[in-house]
């Protein structure tokens, strides 16, 4: 294997480890803020994976939207609840067995799909800067989904406002 390929694998392993560690902290922490921090770490790991895959636009969007915005939303939502300074919250409740079963089923289903699918590997890399192509596609082929996104955002905002004000 050539050196760049080895380094790519190393990068993948590190970032996957970061994402998994973050996820483990998120489900096992006894304090809600620490759990949220674990979630953020997991987001960072996923952004790193996108970087390893050379999908830099998606990676930076992952940082901007998930690490920078969704995490703030989560943290503020935590601040709306009560009794949070406690550090002895149990990470489990009565549903943990059911949750474990569902998680395992989902995991095995994903594993089956991931290993069973015949992934198409592109023969050649797409040359040049991809972002202009992305913009063009958004404005031509995927115009309808693109405009639908703004409607979706509007609906999300209005819905959140209505629920929060009640």
């Amino acid at each position: 294997m050539s050196t760049p390929l080895v380094l790519t694998y190393v990068g993948f392993l590190i970032m996957a480890a970061v994402a998994i560690c973050g996820g483990l902290i998120a489900v096992s922490a006894r304090n809600l803020i620490r759990a949220a921090l674990g979630l953020i770490l997991s987001f960072v790991g996923v952004a790193g994976l996108y970087f390893v895959l050379e999908a830099e636009f998606i990676a930076v969007v992952q940082i901007l939207v998930y690490v920078g915005a969704i995490s703030i939303l989560v943290l503020f939502a935590v601040m709306l609840t009560r009794g949070l300074m406690r550090r002895d919250l149990s990470a489990q409740n009565s549903q943990w067995i059911a949750a474990l079963v569902v998680a395992l089923v989902l995991f095995s289903a994903l594993l089956l799909v991931a290993t069973g699918t015949n992934w198409k590997v592109a023969e050649t890399k797409i040359a040049g800067d991809l972002i202009p192509k992305l913009g063009e596609q958004l404005m031509t082929t995927y115009l309808l989904p693109f405009e639908a996104v703004s409607l979706l955002l509007l609906a999300a905002l209005v819905g959140a406002i209505v629920i929060a004000r009640e």
């Binding site: 921090l37 969007v61 901007l64 690490v67 915005a69 550090r87 972002i131």
Partner: protein, 363 residues
């Protein structure tokens, strides 16, 4: 003139060649050796940038205090060293040897983590900043978004600083700081869109190159009216996002002591302080790159032009800080959402409409 213009690039090439010569004896595979050399060179570059930035911060602190004193008819620091030049050095030494006091009730791990998280984005942002022609650590095609994205990590540091202290002033200050930072992030992101639109790329190097016409004076701030509007919106929201007076409500000492920094002392506080100055410097470099032509300018070498512009913007920020009273929290939020965001949105449409005109006059 050419030697002077390419001074740092030639230096880089010379050191890299030297490394190649040194490592050649190890008998590594060709691509492994190339990777090793480039990794060492990058680490060297990062170290040089960080040391340079620490020096810059020491100068900025001195400059800020001297300037404040001059504008307020005082003398300012004048005891340590000539003209008080060594005052920041003395402050740094004090910070290192000061006891670190952590409240007994605090979440100690998060309390320590917070200043580190606040510092990280400031380091990451330097990955894409071009200091001169060919003087950028890396030229990625998402440069502009990278700056905004990593800056948004800083809000988490501020928030967990407020939470980890377990003090009501800290928590209030942290919440306020986050609300302010996220509100001003939106106009900041939106106001960079017209520049990206005119250049057709998000790479900071391409943005620099697009402003090289007119003997190096084809700066986007002269693209009336889109450029100046975008510049003003950017500069105001950037000042607000890094929390400088008159936008320093998170630290409004008359209400919430020192905000999220209340329970911090010693080097942890020092890191917050360092991050604040790093961020101030970074937003000035970005404003200089996007609107003031970056390294472009007649006669002088590119890196000199760049530093001159950055310092011009820094002095402007200091002037604003010294002469404006602090905003009220409702005024602050109104400015972001009811003034800057609508202006930035209209500006994007203006840029789209005006692009054919700008193209014909050379932008």
């Amino acid at each position: 003139m050419d030697i002077l213009n390419n001074l740092f690039v030639s230096l880089y090439v010379w050191v890299a060649d030297l490394l190649h010569g040194l490592l050649g004896g190890l008998g590594l595979a060709k691509d492994a050796e190339a990777a090793l050399v480039s990794a060492i060179m990058v680490l060297l570059v990062i170290t040089v940038i960080l040391l340079w930035m620490v020096l810059m911060v020491l100068i900025l602190i001195w400059l800020e205090r001297k300037n404040a004193a001059r504008l307020q008819d005082r003398v300012g620091p004048n005891r340590v060293g000539p003209w008080g030049l060594l005052q920041p050095v003395a402050d740094t030494i004090k910070m290192f040897i000061k006891e670190d006091i952590v409240p007994a009730n605090a979440d100690k791990f998060v309390h320590t983590l917070a200043p580190m998280v606040a510092m990280m984005p400031a380091v990451l942002a330097f990955a894409v900043i071009p200091w001169g022609k060919g003087m950028q650590p890396v030229d990625i095609n998402i440069g502009v978004l990278w700056i905004v994205a990593v800056a948004s990590i800083g809000t988490i540091g501020v928030f967990i600083g407020g939470y980890g202290s377990n003090n009501k002033y800290s928590l209030l200050g942290g919440m306020r700081a986050v609300a302010q930072m996220v509100s001003y992030e939106i106009p900041q992101v939106l106001t960079m869109v017209p520049i990206v639109l005119m250049v057709g790329s998000m790479s900071l190097v391409k943005i620099n190159e697009a402003q090289s016409g007119w003997f190096g004076l084809q700066w986007f701030i002269f693209a009336v009216p889109v450029g100046p509007i975008a510049f003003v919106v950017y500069y105001l929201s950037a000042l607000a996002e890094v929390g400088r007076t008159p936008f320093d409500l998170p630290e409004g000492e008359s209400e919430i002591v020192a905000g999220y920094m209340t329970e911090y002392s010693g080097m942890k506080w020092g890191l917050f302080y360092l991050a604040e100055y790093f961020n101030f410097f970074i937003v000035c470099t970005i404003a200089a790159t996007l609107f003031l032509g970056g390294w472009n300018g007649p006669i002088l070498p590119p890196y000199v032009w760049f530093i001159l512009k950055v310092y011009g913007l820094i002095l402007l920020g200091m002037w604003i800080r010294m002469t404006w009273p602090r905003f009220r929290v409702d005024q602050l939020m109104n400015l972001a959402w009811k003034v800057l965001v609508p202006i930035a949105l209209v500006n994007i449409v203006l840029a789209g409409l005006g692009l054919p005109i700008f193209k014909t006059i050379g932008f």
